[in-house]
Symmetry: C2
Subunit: 337 residues, 2 copies
C-alpha cells in the first residue's frame, strides 16, 4: 500500500525553501510514500530542479494563507490557497493525509469545514508527542479549545488512546488527566467531572497527573484543556531553552571551559540530539474525518520531515478507523454523557 | 530594626532535622534577624544542643499538622499545632513573618482565618520567583485558586507589582498575563476581561505573555489562575529534571564520557548551582494581613534557609504596607470592578 501525503508547501516561516527539500528527503527515506506538493508552481520549481519522480507530484494552487489571515475570512475567500487545496485532496481521496506548517487557526477552520468531524466528536484537538524519562507521552489538547466541558476532555482521552493504540501498537495505553494534585478532590469542577467520566469510559484511566508527571511518563496519554496544554507546552520549551542557554554560557565562560567543551563535545552532541525538539515536530489534529498534521511554523527541513513521517504513520496504521471504532463501541456511554 | 521570623519547625518532609539547622544558619548569616522556633521542644532540642542565643527563641507547641490533614479539620481541632502557633505569633505582633514547609491547604486556611485578608483583596495567592534569561520573574497564582474571576487576576497583578516594588526596589515593574498567544483576541473570556482590567489599572501592564515568555523574562510579574500556574510550574520542574537526567546519563555512558565529565566538572557544577531550584524556594502567600512564606515540603537546609531569607526580605521592605497603599490608591477602580 502506498501512502500519499499532500503538503501545503507555501505554509510556515520558510515556505518551499523548507517544505520541498523535506518532502524529497521523506520520499527518499520511505519507499511506501508519495507526496503531492501543493503551491505556486513557479515558487516550488527552483527546489525541484529537473528531477522527475513518479512519487513526487506537483499541484498548482494560486493563493497563500498568510500567518495573520483570519481563519473565517480565509475559509470564505481563499479557496485556491495551498492549504485549502492540500486538505481538499484528503477529502476527495487523492491523499491519505495532509501536512501544513501554516496558520493554525486557518488550518483548524478549513480542516473542520472541508473534512467534517468524526461521529461522536464535538471539537478537534491538537495532540503532540513529548519526551519522558521512560519514553514518550501524547498530550492533548494543546491549544485548539480554550474552554472545555468534561465531555470534551473524555473525547480527548478516547481519541488520544486510539491514536496511541494505532501508532504505538499498544492495546491499552494508560490515560491520565492533568491536574494540580494526585488526589481526586483536587482541581476545578470540569476536571473532577471529566475524571469521573474517564473512570467509567472503559479506558485504562490512571487518574490525575501533575505537571511534572508529564515528563516522568505518568501516562501514555494525558488530557487537558487547550489553554492549560498550550501554556504548559510553551513553558516547557521555555525552560529547555533557558537551561540550554545557561549550559552554553557556562561552557563559553573562559579558555578552560571552552577546552572542557571541546573534550565534552561528543557527549554534548549526543545530549543535544536527544533533547532536540525537532524530533517531536508534528502535532495531529484529531477528531476530523481525515488526517491533518500541523508542523511548527519555524520548522527546518529535519523538523518538517518528521511531521511528514508522523502523517504517514497515522495513515499507515489506520488511526481514523481506530478512533471511529472506539467511539462506535462507546456510543451508549456517549449518549449518557 | 530587628526582623523576627516565626518558624513552623515541625512542617515539611524532614521537620526539625531541616528547619532548625536552617534557622541557625539564617541567624548566623543575617545580623538583623531573630527566629522563634515553634514545635515540640523535645523534638527541637537535639538540633539546638547547648547553644544559648538571644536571637533564637523556642516556643512549645504540642501538636503537628500532618501532610494529609484536612484544612477544615486542622483549623477547628489543632489549635496548638506548630503551624497555628507560628501564625498566631504574626497576628499578635511577636513575629514579623512566618515560614512553614507544611501542608499547603492547612497553611492557607489557618493564615486566612487567623490573619484575615488585606482590604480590597478577596483571596490569597501563592507567588514564587522563577529564573529567566534576563534575571527573574514573579508568577502568581501558583495553586491557591483553581477558579478565578477577572477581578481576582487584577488583584494578583496589583499584589505582585507591590511585592516586586518592595523587594526589588523597582518602581514600575512590568506585569503580564499568561495566555495562549500574544494577540488581544487570544484566550478565554476570563483572561480577555482580566487583560482589559489590567490595562486600566495604572500598572505597567504589557499584555499577554505566552508560556515560554515566563523564562524569556517577558515581564517582572506574570499573573494566571492557580490551576494554570500550578501545572505550568510543576511541568517546568519536570522538564528541568528530565534534561538533568539525560545530561547525567550521557556523561555516564562509558569511560570516555566519564573522563569528559571529570574535565567538565567545574563547568557542570557552576551550571548546576545556577539552575539549582533550591535557590528559588519560598513562595509568598499574598493578600493576608501578615507575611507568610511557604517552603517546599521536601526542602533541605539550604532551600529552607532561602525561604527564611525571603520572609525576612518581605518584612524588611514593608511588603504589606506596599500592597495596602496600592489598593487604597486604586479603591475607586476596585469598586467599579
Amino acid at each position: 500500500m502506498t501512502i500519499t501525503v499532500s503538503i501545503d508547501c507555501m505554509g510556515g516561516d520558510h515556505g518551499p525553501h523548507v517544505t520541498v527539500p523535506a518532502a524529497l528527503d521523506f520520499v527518499r527515506q520511505f519507499a511506501d510514500v508519495r507526496v503531492i506538493l501543493v503551491g505556486m508552481t513557479d515558487r516550488l520549481q527552483p527546489y525541484l530542479g529537473d528531477r522527475v519522480d513518479p512519487r513526487v507530484i506537483v499541484r498548482h494552487a494560486s493563493e497563500v494563507v498568510a500567518m495573520d489571515d483570519s481563519p473565517a475570512i480565509t475559509l470564505r475567500t481563499k479557496k485556491d490557497s495551498s492549504m485549502r487545496v492540500a486538505i481538499d485532496l484528503v477529502r476527495n481521496g487523492e491523499a491519505d493525509a495532509c501536512v501544513s506548517a501554516g496558520n493554525t487557526g486557518a488550518l483548524m477552520a478549513i480542516s473542520r469545514f472541508v473534512l467534517k468531524m468524526l461521529p461522536g466528536i464535538d471539537r478537534p484537538a491538537i495532540c503532540s508527542v513529548l519526551p519522558t524519562l521512560t519514553g514518550q507521552t501524547y498530550v492533548l489538547d494543546l491549544g485548539a479549545n480554550v474552554d472545555c466541558t468534561p465531555e470534551h476532555l473524555l473525547q480527548f482521552g478516547l481519541m488520544g488512546a486510539s491514536l496511541v493504540s494505532a501508532v504505538e501498537h499498544s492495546e491499552r495505553p494508560s490515560v491520565g488527566i492533568l491536574n494540580i494534585g494526585e488526589e481526586a478532590i483536587k482541581g476545578n469542577e470540569v476536571v473532577k467531572r471529566a475524571a469521573e467520566l474517564l473512570w467509567d469510559s472503559g479506558l485504562n484511566f490512571v487518574g490525575n497527573v501533575e505537571g511534572d508527571g508529564i515528563y516522568k511518563g505518568a501516562a501514555d496519554v494525558i488530557v487537558c484543556d487547550g489553554f492549560v496544554g498550550n501554556v504548559t507546552l510553551k513553558a516547557s520549551e521555555g525552560v529547555a531553552q533557558l537551561l540550554a542557554t545557561f549550559l552554553r554560557q557556562e561552557f563559553r565562560r573562559n579558555l578552560f571551559t571552552k577546552l572542557a567543551a571541546l573534550i565534552a563535545l561528543p557527549v554534548l552532541s549526543r545530549f543535544n540530539r536527544r533533547v532536540d525538539h525537532r524530533q517531536y515536530n508534528g502535532a495531529s489534529l484529531l477528531g476530523l474525518r481525515g488526517i491533518v498534521v500541523k508542523s511548527h511554523g519555524s520548522a527546518d527541513v529535519l523538523a518538517f520531515s518528521r511531521a511528514l513521517q508522523r502523517a504517514a504513520e497515522e495513515a499507515r496504521n489506520g488511526v481514523l478507523a481506530r478512533i471511529n471504532e472506539r467511539f462506535a463501541r462507546l456510543s451508549p456511554l456517549q449518549e449518557i454523557a
